[in-house]
């Protein structure tokens, strides 16, 4: 099966007065049709930036300096803005963290849904309105027929995020990029929204790129996971392997540092130090100063993804002929 989205060696730089910062360093990802891929990492790892670069919404001065992004075999990273705008919405939908800034406060939610569907699907007024109501029903908004004429401020946070999900899916895109869709919500609402996103993606065969820092959300939602650290993808694999049997020492440390809900330990495993800032990424593997399994090669050679146990990991422990690990 050919990939729906294929990202190869994508690099993004931020030129600053003190030199260029490499915010993304040769990131490669692929998503199959209908698949849910999680992208996880700590703040500043570059996970949101990856999403933004894919849909062509990089904030200046960020620029793509290398690599390519292809959707269904067609390159989309060099398209003129007008063509890219047509792809956004029609072929790639987006759900962002804060539903209040995604929705236009001056239009009713129905009008925003209708406008999106008419722009991309060319429906008649009546059909579009009927579909808008149906979408609100699908995302679980009670009294959808009346609420379709309500303004965003009349909805609560959880309800607004449901509307945003409807808006992202209503033009029937093949891919949805969801950037921290549940972070602004309360826990009891989070679960509802995740379940909804997952169900709709399955029903419509939509692929999802889910960006989040919450491993619990990833574990419940995704098929595969990519772990990012300091602008690079350092491990990719099936969700079960990455969560329960990770290969990269960083992923291992990350999983162990999460307090468990079902058992209490005296002391959490901790990773000392913090992720390096972009202007101070160490040579070699970016994780080497914090890594408990560091050896000589890690300090000057930068590893790429390589087969490692059940996943792919960027770690010299798994290099051909390595005796460590």
């Amino acid at each position: 099966m050919s990939a729906l989205l294929d990202v190869q060696d994508l690099s993004v730089d931020f030129p600053t007065r003190r030199g260029r910062l490499h915010a993304l360093d040769r990131v490669s990802l692929s998503i199959q049709p209908g698949e849910i891929l999680g992208v996880v990492g700590e703040s500043g790892a570059g996970k949101s930036l990856t999403g933004a670069a894919i849909i062509g919404l990089l904030e200046p001065p960020g620029v793509i300096v290398g690599g390519q992004v292809s959707l269904e075999g067609r390159r989309i990273d060099k398209l003129p803005p007008e063509q890219m705008r047509r792809i956004r919405g029609r072929q790639i939908g987006a759900v962002f963290q804060d539903p209040l800034t995604t929705l236009n406060p001056l239009y009713t939610v129905g009008r925003q849904l209708v406008e999106t569907m008419q722009t991309h699907l060319g429906l008649s007024d009546r059909d579009a309105k009927a579909r808008a109501v149906q979408w609100l029903v699908d995302v679980g908004i009670p009294g959808a027929a009346e609420r379709v004429d309500a303004y965003p401020h009349e909805f609560s946070g959880g309800m607004r995020q449901r509307v945003v999900i409807a808006l992202a899916l209503c033009a029937e895109p093949k891919l949805v990029i969801a950037d921290e869709p549940t972070t602004a919500l309360d826990v009891s609402i989070q679960a509802q929204v995740i379940a909804l996103l997952r169900r709709l993606a399955r029903e419509h065969g939509t692929a999802v790129l889910l960006v989040t820092h919450d491993m619990g959300v990833i574990a419940e939602t995704c098929d595969r996971v990519a772990v990012m650290y300091a602008g690079r993808v350092i491990e990719v694999g099936s969700v079960a392997a990455v969560v329960h049997r990770p290969s990269h020492p960083y992923t291992e440390g990350l999983m162990a540092s999460i307090p468990a809900l079902r058992a209490r330990v005296d002391r959490l495993a901790q990773i000392d130090g913090a992720m390096p800032r972009l202007n101070a990424i160490p040579p070699g593997c970016a994780y080497n100063p914090r890594c408990p399994k560091v050896f000589e090669r890690c300090r000057h050679d930068r590893p790429n993804l390589m087969p490692a146990k059940e996943t792919q990991a960027a770690c010299w422990l798994y290099a051909e002929g390595a005796v460590h690990g």
Binding site: D186, S188, A191, V243, L268
Partner: protein, 329 residues
Amino acid sequence: MADVLEAVKVSRSFDVSKPWLQRMLSRSGRRSLRAVDEVSFSIPKGTTLSLVGESGCGKSTVARLAVGLYPPSSGDIRFEGQSLSSARAQPALRRRMNMIFQDPYASLNPRWRVQDIVAEPLRAFGMLRGSAVGDRVGQLLSQVGLSPADGAKYPHEFSGGQRQRISIARALSSEPDFLVCDEPTSALDVSVQAQILNLMRELQTRLGLTYLFISHNLSVIRHMSDRLGVMYLGRIVEHGPAEAIFTEPRHPYTRLLLDAIPDLDAAGGVGRVRAGVGGEVPSPIAPPPGCTFHPRCPLANDRCRVERPDYTQAGPVEVACHAVEEGRG
């Protein structure tokens, strides 16, 4: 064991009325929001009481009440047996309680050097002067895992986790016995969160600290707490030893919360089947009558819609729920 802090039926209301002129024009009355409603708890020395709940449940208001940043509208808070208002009037007692805030980017003055930030309580209480201050600051910084030389830097030179260490050093500088920690790790990444939680537990063991710990994250709460209070719309709905609540949650809201949390165990399809719980937290300005949880509760009946539940003792736990009391749970 002696209780360090005790709250007896503490309530706190806020005036959320419109401005006077608008009220006159629209002929509407004053409105108030009851953020905390007859909350009672006690924290024995050297232990941690945690409060958990969703946004708007009143947990941060309780945190502020517990250190006297807000006076209660009714009820009483006692610090070692003395009413908090009179305890705070005495600097000797006031220095013994302190607070750690959620956002280490907002709680440290960006124009002050770290050594001045950490020394502020020492100076405010006149505990030390001269070169002794510098020595003590160096000692405090090493205690939280920073270097004494970091004192000369400014907060912007530190990462989020390091800043939270600075907040902890500042909170410890007046040698308090009681710390209120309001979401101390929610602004931090998980690997850094583990460092801070470990540090807080080490300090508790070493210095015999008593914590009131506020969080919305149940996994963090489980890691930190001896006792636990679950809050919903200003009330504690379930209260007891943390382990007892985690192993056998009784109140339907506690069960909902525990069930709703996305969990690592779910990876690869070994997850739990969720009870489909819907609904949202109602507005605290106009809470539902009876038990405030009844619109979302799967066990609600007519009694729940009209009569407010009192606490029932269920094993080691106190629960405010008619269903539990009647054995319908």
